[in-house]
């Protein structure tokens, strides 16, 4: 099976992408319904040329219990802009909530109608906010 073209073009940091998180789920829904993920850093293996992304996962649950540093998207206009339908919380308050994934089809999958797993990019002010939170973390997964 050949790799899709998008594996050769990594997303940018602060892009919203769609992929599988975690690897397995008790409900086994992960394989058919990739979730929104926020790219919090990128790297490349100089030998294999494979790209890697540090990602924080998005959840539609327990929005009201969000950590004060999490990024919650609830404004309808912003949801539309980011390609999200439901209020979504990106769990960015701790590096322990993130993983580094290879930018390959095993872990990322476009939603229907999209040509790559990249849904959208955060607007600049949100990028500054997320950058500030990430910069304050001392437990980010290291490349």
């Amino acid at each position: 099976m050949t790799s899709p073209d998008w594996v050769l073009r990594p997303p940018y940091t602060y892009d919203v992408v769609t992929g599988f998180f975690p690897e397995t789920s008790p409900k086994m829904t992960w394989a058919t319904n990739p979730r929104p993920l926020l790219v919090c850093g990128r790297a490349q293996d100089p030998e294999t040329k494979m790209f890697f992304c540090r990602v924080a996962y998005g959840t539609t649950k327990q929005i009201e219990k969000a950590h004060e540093d999490d990024l919650v998207i609830g404004n309808m206009s912003m949801l539309d802009q980011l390609g999200l339908k439901r209020t979504t919380r990106f769990v960015i308050h701790s590096g322990r909530q993130m993983v580094i994934l290879p930018w390959i089809a095993e872990f990322f999958r476009p939603w229907s109608g999209y040509s790559s797993p990249v849904l959208s990019s955060l607007p600049e002010e949100m990028q500054h906010y997320v950058g500030g939170v990430l910069g304050s973390l001392d437990d980010l997964p290291q490349f």
């Binding site: 990128r42 909530q97 993983v99 994934l101 290879p102 229907s112 999209y114 500054h128 910069g135």
Partner: protein
């Protein structure tokens, strides 16, 4: 460098979302993330310093 995705199609009244956007996405337990990360790191050599960062995240 990144590939821009095709944007959702508008229907005149708003954005039309793909069926995947209707999904409910659960909370993931920390223990589950930690176990998965360990497997990923071992399989792909992550965290050994051999991957070259493509950008630097700085405090805003």
């Amino acid at each position: 460098m990144a590939q821009r995705a095709k944007q959702p199609v508008t229907n005149g009244r708003g954005v039309q979302f793909p069926p995947e956007a209707d999904g409910e996405f659960d909370i993931v337990e920390l223990e589950e993330i930690a176990a998965w990360r360990e497997k990923l790191n071992e399989r792909f050599g992550i965290g050994q310093g051999k991957l070259k960062s493509l950008d630097v995240v700085t405090a805003g």
